[in-house]
């Protein structure tokens, strides 16, 4: 439990109260760990599961920490590393690929000045390459914090999207 204590500052009283609400909404049912981790991840600004929180969940749910980390490392939607306030998930699958998602990758990289999986200096944006999220009818598309933005077939549209988030 040493590691957990080191990072106690992350787990403020306010945050643990919010986490407890998530746990209550899942009836403290540890078979719902995947859904719980997704909800908790949304509470964190950088959209990830800090180690201290993983240990907190482990205790509250009476689950081995290895089970929690097995889930975090297995599922792509869960992250143990800090991401950003707006993780921009660019679809890399076939439908977006044949609709010129290459340009989408390039334009985002240019506008933000970062490469894939890097974070902008202010912690706002990161670029991620993800498999199909079922928005093939509006390809090429990106997904940011659960919202899909499609038809990104020009530099202007991508600039507008970023401006909306700023």
């Amino acid at each position: 439990m040493l590691t957990a204590q080191k990072q106690d500052h992350i787990l403020s009283k306010e945050l643990s109260a919010k986490i407890d609400l998530v746990l209550a909404s899942h009836e403290y049912d540890n078979t719902q760990i995947v859904g719980i981790l997704l909800d908790v991840q949304d509470l964190i600004d950088e959209h990830y599961i800090p180690e201290a929180i993983a240990y907190y969940l482990s205790e509250k749910l009476d689950l081995k920490i290895t089970v929690i980390y097995d889930c975090i490392s297995f599922y792509s939607s869960l992250s143990e590393k800090p991401r950003a306030k707006y993780p921009i998930q660019i679809c890399n699958s076939i439908v977006c690929s044949i609709n010129d998602n290459d340009s989408v990758f390039t334009i985002f990289k240019e506008l933000l000045g970062i490469e894939l999986n890097e974070v902008t200096y202010d912690g706002r944006f990161t670029l991620e390459s993800v498999p199909c999220f079922g928005a093939c009818d509006v390809a090429p598309a990106v997904r940011i914090n659960g919202t899909v933005y499609g038809h990104l077939d020009s530099r202007g549209k991508i600039e507008n999207l970023l401006n909306k988030l700023l």
């Binding site: 078979t31 997704l38 297995f74 939607s77 699958s93 044949i98 609709n99 498999p131 199909c132 009818d137």
Partner: protein, 413 residues
Amino acid sequence: MSKSVNFITRNFGKYDVSSIGSYMNIGGFDALKKAVTMTGEDIAATIAEAKIKGRGGAAYDMGRKWAQAKAVVAEKKVIICNADEGEPCTFKDRALIEKDPFNLIEGMIIAGYTVDAQDGYIYMREEYSHLRPLLLNAIRQAKTYGFLGTNILGKGFNFNIHLYSGAGAYVCGEGTALIRSLEGKAGRPRMKPPFIKQSGLFARPTCVNNVESLAIVAPLLLDDKKEYLSYGSGESIGTKLVSVGGNVNTPGVFEIPFGTTVREIVYDMAGGIKGDHTIRLIQFGGASGKIASSRILDTPYTYDDLKKAGVTVGSGAILVVDDRTSVLNFLRTTQAFFSHESCGQCTPCREGNRHIKLILEKLAANTHRNEDITALKKIVKLMAMSSLCGLGESAENALLSAMQQFPDVFEVK
């Protein structure tokens, strides 16, 4: 000009999807009221009569599946709705949830009544998380109105629906992986037997159905005029949702009568090919589906005709790729998807995907030799024969069909 129909999609745009009252005003829950006057065996027989095959991709006889689930003797049984549609170019289930959530809930309750289950679980992919509030609201309202809970419609039938989320793992569309994920574990598939129908979620007998399969149930039970049976012919009766995407003018979800030709789907419904390009290839059923050249255009979309033409219905996806993309680049992108999504626990799938990737790279660089092609054929065969689950068994489908349909791509120059 051939037109799409609206049997399964009959409610799209007809009611306020956030209101059960609005749904009941257009006949919502009439099918459930009728179902509880029938026996489970009769309901399964009605589905068998319409020859409905599972719409997730495996195309297992649904009437038979329900009859088997009913026949299992157990204290507690489970219905699962597989809403984890992860096949690229497949988005029909998204449309069904978005535009008619109550019909799905009603279908699930009828499924529960048919097989004597007490619990229903919807496993929806995380990528559709924006639809969670809609479904949660539908479940809550159905409970308030007594269509969920205890003693439903005074028939002594108890049933509840729980909404679970996936977390970005394609392999969780596979039944045993999905169940592990629902149990709060990493979604790695397991060996069968025991089969899910005998020992599934929490070791209970479990009946897993795709969203579209469940969405057919309510309209079918109310179909006194036998409209559904009037569409299609032979083994492919009725209608089917297809999601058409790629280089077409108007991609989208269309409900087609079985027997509509691929040309009618691509040109009349999806608006034809963008610009003045020609078709390079069409893939059927998602990334794990097979590909065909434009020669398939005049083939009627039925289970049998597609099979004869070397492809399958699969997930209902139709991906049209134009001449700007080479067959090889198409295969490499598809390959990258499977390398990412393979869970890595069984050797044929994990290593097979890796080796296919290396050989495709050689093909792209034009440095391949005869022994590479021989190895490729061997790997493809081995993966299909010996992988643990459907992912590894089908990951090489596109490649296999490309070897048959576009042999020149694999020639050693």
